[in-house]
């Protein structure tokens, strides 16, 4: 199954903004020191920065109620802009995590295809919010 994990939380981005290690998306062993870089309430995303002796990468977490293919396209466009802004277009340095309550089957297909094709990027992680 494509889902990395399942959670039950009314406001996952706010929880992650307070505790980046919540839900086990990040761990101290693998992501080291994680801090909030940006919480965008309007666009519903959170950027976490992983640090050890300086910045070592970012995690972009987008939250959506329903994840349609149109929604996915707009998230990907936004993600692309963030990769440019944060790392000068180095996709290796940025993880994309999606939290949603509902999803379309073709979104799962596209993400799965993306993860198979872009072998030099970090795979997209999907988290199902069952709240």
């Amino acid at each position: 199954m494509l889902f990395d994990r399942r959670i039950k939380e009314p406001n996952p981005l706010r929880v992650l903004a307070q505790d980046p290690y919540a839900f086990g998306i990040c761990t101290k062993e693998t992501d080291f020191s994680v801090e909030v870089k940006e919480l965008n309430v309007e666009k519903n995303y959170l950027i976490l920065r992983k640090r050890i002796d300086g910045s070592v990468g970012y995690i972009c977490i987008f939250e959506r109620g329903s994840l349609t293919i149109e929604e996915m396209r707009s998230i990907y466009a936004e993600f692309r802009n963030l990769v440019l802004r944060l790392t000068n277009s180095n996709f290796r340095e940025v993880e994309l995590v999606l939290i949603c309550k509902h999803y379309d089957a073709e979104v799962l297909e596209s993400i799965s295809e993306y993860n198979r094709t872009y072998t030099h990027r970090v795979p997209i992680k999907l988290i199902l919010n069952e709240y």
Binding site: M72, R73, N88, S89, I111, E113, R116, T117
Partner: protein
């Protein structure tokens, strides 16, 4: 836009080459009487076939480690194994083209002005040359006599030739006595063979089309908008990752649009796509790409496409565009090809 080329030759052949305005590429393996294999013959054609009259040419003299210029093409490449030009008992250097001092830079060429190869390498190390990583023959990398370079890089070489002109030129103006071949020599376009069997053959066809009729394969990408040929520049065997020497088969660019061609002789599969999208990620990081404004397209070329590849591209297109599959069909007994966009 005119194209630009750097051609490598030996020191002993330079004097005659320059005097007569004729360059020839080899038919036999260097230092032997063994004919080059088909792959190598076709790589020579692939590198030369897109040359047009008026294109800029520079010459890299191997032993001296110098680059000479500025010249322009006066006759496009052809094959002639009858007329012996150079003093070599075995080799006739039959893959030829003609050139003359570039009219805008005759003051440079007439005095055989040159720069040290190392002064060019300094700019490569600074990331200021886009289409060259080295002129040396490296282990495990195809030896090439002719390299197409981006015009932007050619402009830098012209400026270096002017910079060093005062110090690196002949004292006297040199004679130029242009050679002209018989009228019945065979244009290089007519020398192609094994299209559909050898990768360099189909690459050569694409290079020719980009030079002479680019709309044929670029219109789909331009969304049917009129293609302005003055904006187009392209190179083959383009090193996208210099340290690991990863090269894109063909790289073309128009204003703000970059196209990476990944070419397969027969079946293209998911590995071809994986490689091409990785190259696209690497290209995004080049300092001369504007990620906010530019677009990079990936075109996978093949005679056939694995069904899984087609599905994969269709699925990816739903969230991110810019991947195309270009099918080719060998025609005229493998001497040319027709193209058709599948996706």
């Amino acid at each position: 836009m005119k194209g630009a080329f750097i051609c490598t030759l030996s020191e002993e052949d330079w004097e005659k080459t320059r005097l007569l305005g004729i360059y020839g590429n080899r038919f036999f393996k260097e230092g032997t009487s063994k004919v080059l294999k088909d792959t190598q013959q076709l790589s020579i054609i692939r590198d030369l076939i897109s040359m047009r009259e008026g294109d800029l040419v520079f010459f890299h003299i191997r032993g001296k480690q110098t680059i000479h210029g500025v010249y322009e093409v006066r006759k496009t490449p052809y094959f002639d194994d009858q007329e012996r030009i150079w003093d070599n008992k075995v080799e006739v250097f039959p893959y030829r083209f003609l050139f003359k001092p570039h009219p805008n830079y005759a003051h440079i060429a007439e005095y055989d002005a040159n720069i040290e190869v190392h002064s060019l390498y300094e700019f490569i190390d600074r990331g200021m040359i886009q289409s060259l990583v080295t002129l040396e023959n490296e282990q495990n990398i195809e030896a090439r006599g002719v390299r197409k370079i981006l015009v932007e890089d050619a402009k830098l070489i012209i400026s270096l030739l002017h910079r060093d002109f005062k110090f690196r030129k002949n004292r006297e103006k040199l004679e130029f006595a242009p050679y002209n071949p018989p009228s019945d020599v065979k244009p290089l376009k007519d020398c192609l063979y094994k299209v559909g069997n050898i990768e360099n053959a189909i690459k050569a066809v694409i290079m020719y089309i980009l030079a002479y009729n680019p709309s044929q394969i670029l219109n789909e990408i331009k969304n049917k908008r009129e293609l302005d040929r003055k904006e187009l520049d392209f190179v083959n065997e383009f090193f996208i990752a210099q340290t690991t020497r990863k090269s894109v088969d063909i790289y073309a660019r128009l204003k703000g649009i970059h196209i990476l061609f990944e070419v397969k002789t027969d079946v293209a599969d998911e590995n071809a796509l994986r490689q091409a999208v990785y190259y696209r990620d690497l290209l995004w990081q080049r300092p001369w790409i504007n990620p906010e404004k530019d677009k990079i397209f990936v075109v996978v070329v093949g005679q056939r496409f694995q069904e899984k590849l087609k599905q994969s591209v269709e699925r990816l297109k739903k969230m991110n565009n810019g991947i195309h599959l270009l099918q080719y069909r060998p025609i005229n007994n493998g001497k040319w090809a027709e193209f058709n966009y599948v996706i």
